[in-house]
C-alpha cells in the first residue's frame, strides 16, 4: 500500500470507529427511559363516553414495543398499548384501585378461598369474529403457565385448574387461597385470548376490546382502530395512534405543532411551562404505581445495622429532594406503596428531617466516619435526586461517593449481585411490596421472617385480612428503614384542551383509551 492510499483509508476507518463510539455512547441515553416505563395511565371504563364520532387522536410515548406479544416479551410498552384497549380481562381495576367486573359479569369465591366461579358475559366476540366463551378463558389461563415467557407469568402459579363448566361459566381452582391472584387477573396475565387467534401474536393481536389492532410502522407509530362489533360502549375515537419519541424535546415539539394531542407521561417536568396556556392545553396530574426509593443494601455492613439505615432516613429532607429533582411534582411517601393501593398509609411522619437525630443514631451505632457508595442508573430522576442526597447526607457526617452506571451495569451489579451500598430507582410494578421486601435474596437483601409471614397470611386470608396484614408489613418495613422512600412518582399528562376522559391516575398497565374522546 502506498502512503497515498493509506492516507485515504485511515480517515474512513477513523470515522467508522467514531461511529462505533458514538453509537456505544447512545446506550446510556436510550436506556434512560427503561425503569420509568411502567408509569402509564390506566383505568376501567366507568364514565360513559359520548356517542361515537370519527375523531382521531395521536398520543406521544417514549418506549416503543419490540413486538406486540406480551406473552413472549417483557416490558411495559406492549400492555401499555394493547391491554384494556385490544385485550380485555375478566376483572379490572377502577380509578380508586377497586376490582370491578369486565368480561366477567360477576364472580363468587368459595368459603375456603380456593374456588372462584366467574359468570362471563355472553355475546362477546373477538375482533376476528370468533365468539368469546369460557373455553377461551380456560385456554388463556392455562396458556400463561404453559407458554408464557416473562417473569410475570408466576402470578398464575397458584392456579391448579381452570375449567369451563358451560359457555359462560368458568371455575378456577387455586392450590392455596390468594388475594393477589385476583388482582393479577387485572394485569396482562389476565388478558383473554381466542383459542383460534394466538398464531401470530407478535404482529397480529386479536382481542375482545373496544379497539382492534390497525397497523404498526416500526420506529414510528402503532395505530388502533375502533372495533365495530364491540360488546360494550363503542370507542369514541375512530383511530388512536401511539407515536413514539425517544427524545422528550421532539415529543414537546410534536405537541406544540399539532403532531400529537396528548403527551402520555411528561419526562421533564420543567418543560411544562410551555403548556401553561389553558385555552389550548390541559395538564393532568395524578398518581402512578411508581415509588422512587433510595434502596439500602440491608445485607451489607454497616447498612445491616438498623440504626445506620434510620440515621440515613432522618438525614434526608424529602421535600427538598422532590422540589429539586422533580420540580415538586409527585407526593411524599414514607413507606412503600402507591397512594391508590388499598393498604396505603401515610408514613411520611416516621422519619422527619432531623440531622441531630441522624448524628446521634450514627454515634450510637459506632459510625464516626461513615463512607458509602451510591450507584445511580442513567435515569433523570435518579441523577437529579442523587446529587441532593449526597449533599444532605454530608450534613449528617456521611460521605457518599456517587457514580453513574449504565443500565446493564446497574442490572448486573446492583440488581443481580447486590454489589452496592445505596442506589435510587423508581419501582413501577403495581403492588410490588412483597416482591421487594418479602424475599431475602432480592437486591434489597431485606430479611424479616415476621414480614414474610404477614405477606403469606394476608394473601391467604379474607380481603380484610389481606389489607390489614399488608398494612402491618408495610409499617414494619418502614420502622426497619429497609429503604428510604423519596416520593411517589406522579402521573403527568399534557393534552389538548379538547381531549376528554383521560384517566387521572395511572392504575394499571395500559394507557386506557376506553373513556377517551375529543370535543
Amino acid at each position: 500500500m502506498t502512503p497515498r492510499t493509506r492516507y485515504r483509508f485511515h480517515p474512513l476507518v477513523a470515522a467508522a470507529i467514531t461511529a462505533l463510539t458514538v453509537l456505544a455512547g447512545c446506550s446510556a441515553g436510550s436506556s434512560v427511559q427503561e425503569p420509568t416505563a411502567g408509569t402509564t395511565a390506566g383505568s376501567s371504563g366507568s364514565a360513559s363516553p359520548p356517542a361515537p364520532a370519527d375523531a382521531s387522536l395521536a398520543i406521544g410515548f417514549v418506549l416503543e414495543p419490540g413486538s406486540l406479544d406480551f406473552t413472549q416479551a417483557d416490558g411495559a410498552a406492549i400492555p401499555q398499548v394493547l391491554l384494556d384497549n385490544v385485550y380485555e380481562t375478566l376483572v379490572s381495576q377502577d380509578q380508586s384501585g377497586a376490582i370491578v367486573p369486565k368480561l366477567a359479569e360477576s364472580w363468587t369465591v368459595s368459603p375456603d378461598g380456593l374456588t372462584y366461579t366467574f359468570q362471563l358475559r355472553s355475546g362477546v366476540t373477538f375482533s376476528d369474529g370468533a365468539p368469546f366463551t369460557a373455553q377461551d378463558a380456560a385456554f388463556s389461563i392455562d396458556r400463561v403457565k404453559a407458554d408464557w415467557k416473562p417473569a410475570v407469568k408466576a402470578g398464575m402459579d397458584v392456579v391448579a385448574s381452570a375449567v369451563a363448566t358451560s359457555d359462560t361459566e368458568l371455575t378456577v381452582t387455586l392450590t392455596e387461597p390468594s388475594n393477589s391472584w385476583l388482582f393479577r387477573m387485572t394485569t396482562r396475565i389476565g388478558a383473554m385470548f381466542s383459542r383460534t387467534g394466538v398464531a401470530d401474536l407478535a404482529t397480529t393481536p386479536i382481542g375482545t376490546g373496544p379497539y382492534a389492532f390497525g397497523s404498526w410502522n416500526r420506529g414510528e407509530q402503532i395505530v388502533l382502530t375502533r372495533n365495530p362489533t364491540y360488546w360494550g360502549t363503542p370507542a369514541a375515537l375512530a383511530t388512536a395512534t401511539f407515536r413514539y419519541f425517544q427524545d422528550p424535546a421532539a415529543m414537546d415539539n410534536a405537541m406544540l405543532t399539532g403532531g400529537i394531542q396528548v403527551i402520555s407521561a411528561v419526562q421533564t417536568p420543567e418543560s411544562l411551562a410551555q403548556f401553561a396556556d389553558t385555552t389550548r392545553y390541559q395538564v393532568i396530574e395524578g398518581t402512578t404505581n411508581g415509588e422512587v426509593m433510595m434502596a439500602m443494601n440491608n445485607g451489607r455492613a454497616p447498612l445491616s445495622d438498623v440504626r445506620v439505615r434510620q440515621a440515613i432516613s432522618y438525614a434526608l429532607d424529602r421535600q427538598q429532594i422532590l422540589d429539586g429533582a422533580w420540580s415538586g411534582y409527585g407526593s411524599l411517601i414514607g413507606g412503600h406503596e402507591a397512594p391508590t393501593d388499598p393498604w396505603f398509609t401515610d408514613l411520611t411522619g416516621v422519619y422527619p428531617h432531623d440531622v441531630a437525630k441522624a448524628r446521634a443514631l450514627l454515634a450510637e451505632a459506632g459510625q464516626s466516619d461513615l463512607r458509602l457508595t451510591l450507584k445511580l442508573p442513567p435515569v433523570p430522576y435518579a441523577q437529579a435526586a442523587g446529587a441532593i442526597v449526597v449533599s444532605q447526607l454530608a450534613e449528617a457526617g456521611i460521605t457518599v461517593e456517587a457514580s453513574s452506571v449504565t443500565f446493564p451495569v446497574w442490572l448486573d451489579q446492583v440488581f443481580g449481585q447486590a454489589d452496592y451500598d445505596l442506589t435510587i430507582v423508581n419501582h413501577v410494578e403495581p403492588r410490588d411490596i412483597s416482591t421487594i421486601f418479602g424475599d431475602p435474596a432480592y437486591y434489597t437483601r431485606y430479611d424479616n421472617a415476621q414480614v414474610r409471614d404477614l405477606f403469606a397470611a394476608g394473601d391467604a386470608g379474607t380481603p380484610e385480612e389481606y389489607v390489614a396484614d399488608y398494612r402491618a408489613a408495610m409499617e414494619t418495613i418502614t420502622q426497619d428503614a429497609a429503604a428510604a422512600w423519596l416520593w411517589s412518582f406522579p402521573n403527568l399528562v399534557v393534552a389538548d384542551a379538547s381531549v376528554r376522559g383521560l384517566p387521572q391516575n395511572a392504575i394499571g398497565e395500559s394507557f386506557d383509551l376506553t373513556t377517551v374522546s375529543v370535543g
Binding site: A16, N217, R218, Y244, Q246, A250, A254, T257, F407, L411
Partner: protein, 313 residues
C-alpha cells in the same frame, strides 16, 4: 488496473471480516442478552432455558460462525428481545436512512461547491471572507443543534413545516418532502460548511497551477477559468473528503433521526441499544461499518479512475 483493483477488493473483504469479528466480540462481552431480554424478575432457570434456546451456551467461535454464516445468506437472526427477524427490518430502516443521507449530501454539495469556489476565487475580498467565516461557524455547530434550531424557527414558531415524523415516499410524496426538508437541511448545512473549506482549499491549490495561469492569459476571468478548467482537477481531493463525509453524515443521521423521529437505522440502533437487543445491535452496527468500508472502497476506485497518478499507487 486489474492488479491494484484486485488488491483493493482484497483489502475491502479483509476489512469486512475483521470488522465482523470486532463487532461480534465487542457486543458479546457487554452483557448477558438472555437476562436482559427476560427483565428484572426472571429466574435463573428461565435465563438458562433462553440461553439454550438461542444457542448462547455454545462456544463463542461456534456462535460467531453461525451468526456470520447466516448474514452471508441475508439472515441476521431473530431478536432475543422481541422474537422478530432482524434482517427485513434492517432493509426497511436502511432505506429510510439512505433517503436522509442522500438528501443531506445533495444539500451539502449544493452549498459547498459554489461557496467553496467563491471563497477561493474571491479570497481576501469581503464576500470571500464572509463565506469563510460562515463555514467556520457551520463547522462548529453539531447537526442536532442545527436541527433543534430549525425546528424552533420553521415548525414551532412559523408553523411552515412539521416538527417531526416521517412519511413513506411511495404513499405520500408531498408529505415525505415536507417531513424531510428540515432533517436534510440540519444534516446537509453542517456537512456543507465542512465541505466548503475543502472545496476552497482544493480550488486554491488549482489556482496556483500553471494551466490556470495560462487559461487566464487567454482572457478568461479567474472565475471562468476555475469553472471551465479547475473544477475537474479540484474534484479529486474533494471526492476523497466526500467519502469521509458520507460516513460522518451517517453518524449525524443517528442523532438527527432521533430529533426528527425518523424511523431509520440510527434511531432503531439507539432503540435496540436501549432495550439491550444485542443481536439487533450487532446486525445494525455491522451493516453501518460495512457501509463505511464500502464507501472507502468506492472512493478509492473512483479516485483511481479520475486520476492516473493514483491508479499506479
Amino acid at each position: 488496473m486489474t492488479w491494484p483493483l484486485l488488491r483493493r477488493v482484497g483489502i475491502f473483504l479483509l476489512s469486512v471480516l475483521v470488522a465482523s469479528v470486532a463487532v461480534f466480540a465487542l457486543l458479546t462481552v457487554l452483557g448477558d442478552p438472555a437476562r436482559t431480554a427476560l427483565g428484572t424478575g426472571a429466574t435463573d432457570e428461565a435465563v438458562a432455558a433462553l440461553r439454550t434456546r438461542f444457542g448462547l451456551d455454545r462456544s463463542l467461535v461456534t456462535q460467531y460462525l453461525d451468526w456470520a454464516g447466516g448474514i452471508l445468506h441475508g439472515d441476521f437472526g431473530v431478536s432475543y428481545v422481541s422474537g422478530v427477524p432482524i434482517g427485513p427490518q434492517i432493509a426497511d430502516r436502511l432505506a429510510v436512512t439512505l433517503w436522509l443521507v442522500a438528501g443531506a449530501v445533495v444539500v451539502s454539495l449544493v452549498v459547498a461547491v459554489p461557496c467553496g469556489v467563491l471563497a477561493a476565487v474571491r479570497r481576501g475580498r469581503p464576500e470571500g471572507t464572509l463565506v469563510s467565516v460562515l463555514s467556520q461557524v457551520g463547522v462548529a455547530v453539531p447537526a442536532f443543534l442545527a436541527g433543534l434550531l430549525l425546528v424552533t424557527v420553521f415548525a414551532v414558531t412559523l408553523g411552515w413545516l412539521p416538527a417531526n415524523g416521517y412519511r413513506v415516499p411511495a404513499q405520500d410524496p408531498g408529505g415525505f418532502l415536507a417531513h424531510m426538508v428540515l432533517p436534510w437541511l440540519s444534516l446537509g448545512l453542517v456537512q456543507g460548511a465542512v465541505l466548503t473549506r475543502y472545496v476552497r482549499s482544493a480550488v486554491l491549490d488549482e489556482l496556483n497551477q500553471d494551466y490556470l495561469r495560462t487559461a487566464r492569459s487567454t482572457g478568461l476571468t479567474t472565475m471562468q477559468a476555475v469553472v471551465r478548467h479547475g473544477l475537474r482537477n479540484a474534484a479529486l481531493p474533494v471526492l476523497t473528503v466526500l467519502g469521509v463525509q458520507l460516513v460522518t453524515v451517517l453518524v449525524g443521521a443517528v442523532v438527527v433521526e432521533r430529533v426528527f423521529v425518523i424511523p431509520g437505522i440510527g434511531s432503531w440502533l439507539a432503540d435496540s441499544v436501549g432495550r439491550q437487543d444485542l443481536l439487533a445491535v450487532q446486525g445494525i452496527v455491522l451493516v453501518l461499518v460495512v457501509f463505511a468500508l464500502a464507501v472507502s472502497f468506492l472512493v478509492d476506485v473512483a479516485a483511481a479512475a479520475l486520476d492516473p497518478r493514483v491508479r499506479r499507487g
